[in-house]
Amino acid sequence: MEKKRLNTEEYIKLIKESPEKKRGYIFAGATVVVSILLIVFAVRPTIVTITQINSSIKEKTRLSTALDAKISTLSALDKQFEDVGTDLQDLKLIYPANGNFSLLLANINPILSRNGFYLTGINFDKYSDKNVSFTPKVLVPWSVKIAAKGKVSNIINLLKELEALPMFPVMESFSYTDQKDEYDLTNFSINLRIYKIDNANFYE
């Protein structure tokens, strides 16, 4: 029997379409698929988790920095408060949180006396007008009505001294008539806008 001889073209075809090569392709494909499966089911979820952890780290770093800033600010404020604490304590008297206007009362009498007036009545009340064009955060306007007797010639000085008080009062209304009593004194009515704090524990 004569052995069949292959020509060059058939050899090339044989090389190209050899069963080893086909198997090689199949295993290459299988390896790629396995790799892809590994990437999709093992690497991808881990990367997703890493992204989440990363954003969590960023958020915690931001929070930690903010907390650091708060701690250092509070420490600095502690130090400042030690230095100016006594001065700040005076604010309790100027802007009382419990409605105790003792400093104002203690100031009004000397001012009236200094200007030749004497107090005939004083009344603290809620501020019902709407003349405040700004909105303070903690200070609440309050009204104090002062009735006093004195000389007309001294009234401007009295008003100026009242408005120069440390609580920055504003004269909202003021009136008098020229009717005089037996001591030649005139009745004056002065309405001041002052401020207080509506929180009894504000300074504590």
């Binding site: 290459a28 390896t31 790799s35 590994l38 780290i57 915690k60 209304s173 009136s175």
Partner: protein, 183 residues
């Protein structure tokens, strides 16, 4: 399983010296030649990702502990109380600045107004209420009253100037109302 012992002896150069015929052997050959690099690459990637996650997890936990420690420190009653007091003072000081800057000194307005009344007019009553002025004056001279009326009406700082004149015997009673214009 792998038929390593039965390798065919051939001098046909078109055939590899060893050419496995069953699927397991081919898979083994493939994996030990080309596929292993691919798989090793993927495994290295997987391990890299795993270890980076491990490191990041540790970093995250450290930060969490750090934040918790700071929160615990700030949650301390004394710190909380101090923080509230300082915050209150901060608000108060900003309010004081606001109140100081916006304070209107009305005594100056009243002073200017009273000093602006001519000496020929006698002020019998004065009323000021949030920029609204009401005056009662008496005089013997109508000209003085007219001059005063003209001066008030020509003053650009005043508006709604209203005069009401009433003559009683020799005395003229004048009632004046107007509004002080604010800036």
């Amino acid at each position: 399983m792998f038929k390593f012992g039965k390798q065919p002896q051939s001098i046909d150069f078109l055939q590899p010296s060893y050419s496995p015929t069953d699927i397991w052997s081919t898979a083994y050959i493939w994996l030990t030649n080309v596929g292993k690099y691919l798989l090793i690459g993927v495994e290295v990637l997987v391990l890299g990702v795993f270890f980076s996650r491990f490191i990041l997890d540790r970093q995250d936990n450290d930060l969490k502990e750090e934040v918790n420690a700071k929160v615990t420190l700030l949650s301390n009653e004394s710190w909380q109380k101090n923080a509230a007091v300082y915050e209150n003072y901060q608000y108060l000081l900003s309010d004081i600045k606001l109140v100081k800057d916006r304070q209107v000194i009305n005594s100056v307005k009243v002073s200017e107004l009273i000093s602006g009344i001519p000496s020929s007019l006698h002020l019998t009553s004065f009323g000021y209420s949030v920029n609204r002025i009401s005056l009662r004056l008496t005089s013997n001279s109508l000209n003085s009253i007219k001059d005063y009326e003209a001066s008030l009406k020509n003053n650009p700082n005043y508006s709604n100037v209203a005069f009401s004149i009433d003559k009683n015997k020799d005395e003229i009673n004048v009632s004046v109302t107007f509004v002080i214009l604010t800036e």
